[in-house]
């Protein structure tokens, strides 16, 4: 069974600085998707960024980028120029590429942004 591990329960960053959230996963599959979701307090979960395992190039979305290391099964999220609105729970998730396999989430990292 696939598992996703986020080893940092909490992280903090100063506004305008850069922070990296870690995620590792375990799978025997070769083709899959990895995701980072953001869940602000009392607000709904939204997709931040997605990486397709067959793509070697790391995904980027504005201030958000990932470092995808397939061999190491590592998928970290870098947030540049952190803003107060980035404060939230961040969840790493995995899903097989095909079929109806479910999203498997990590336990999350709570990010605090200090002014």
């Amino acid at each position: 069974a696939q598992t996703v591990t986020q080893s940092q329960p909490e992280m903090s960053v100063q506004e305008a600085e850069t922070v990296t959230l870690s995620c590792t996963y375990d799978t025997s599959e070769s083709d899959y998707y990895l995701f980072w979701y953001k869940q602000p307090p009392s607000r709904q979960m939204i997709l931040v960024i997605r990486q397709e395992a067959y793509k070697q190039q790391n995904a980027t979305e504005n201030r958000f980028s990932v470092n995808f290391q397939k061999a190491a099964k590592s998928f970290s999220l870098k947030i540049s120029d952190s803003q107060l609105g980035d404060a939230a729970m961040y969840f790493c998730a995995y899903r097989r590429r095909d079929g109806s396999e479910k999203l498997v989430f990590g336990k999350g990292t709570k990010l605090t942004v200090n002014p």
Binding site: V4, Y32, Y33, R43, Q44, M45, I46, L47, R50, E52, F91, A93, R95, R96, R97, D98, G99, S100, E101, K102, L103, F105, G106, K107, G108
Partner: protein
């Protein structure tokens, strides 16, 4: 485009009572998911529908939980009877299709407290 709607937002019940949650997915989305998110954990899939058929309910406690998606649109999730350990946020999500390349959009969730 309207997002995924859920109601109620909050519910407090006593153990052994029953409760129902409602979800209206994004228009045109064929796939609907119910997740359970216990405090301090990532969401866990309870059941997945493709139109009005069940794709995956392997993690649904079927002795007390039931779900339906009549006419392939709205869905209800029921718990009867509730236990203390059912206290959680119940998230509904939808996507255009089942394949992992289609983004899942989440609703705001229903926070259930069982006393």
């Amino acid at each position: 485009e309207a997002g995924v709607a859920q109601s109620p937002r909050y519910k407090i019940i006593e153990k052994r009572q029953s409760v129902a949650f409602w979800c209206n997915p994004i228009s045109g989305h064929a796939t609907l998911y119910w997740y359970q998110q216990i405090l301090g954990q990532g969401p866990k899939l309870l059941i997945q529908f493709q139109n009005n058929g069940v794709v995956d309910d392997s993690q649904l406690p079927k002795d007390r939980f039931s779900a339906e998606r009549l006419k392939g649109v709205d869905s209800t999730l029921k718990i009867q009877p509730a236990k203390l350990e059912d206290s959680a946020v119940y998230l509904c999500a939808s996507s255009q299709l089942t394949s992992g390349r289609y983004e899942q959009y989440f609703g705001p969730g229903t926070r259930l407290t069982v006393t």
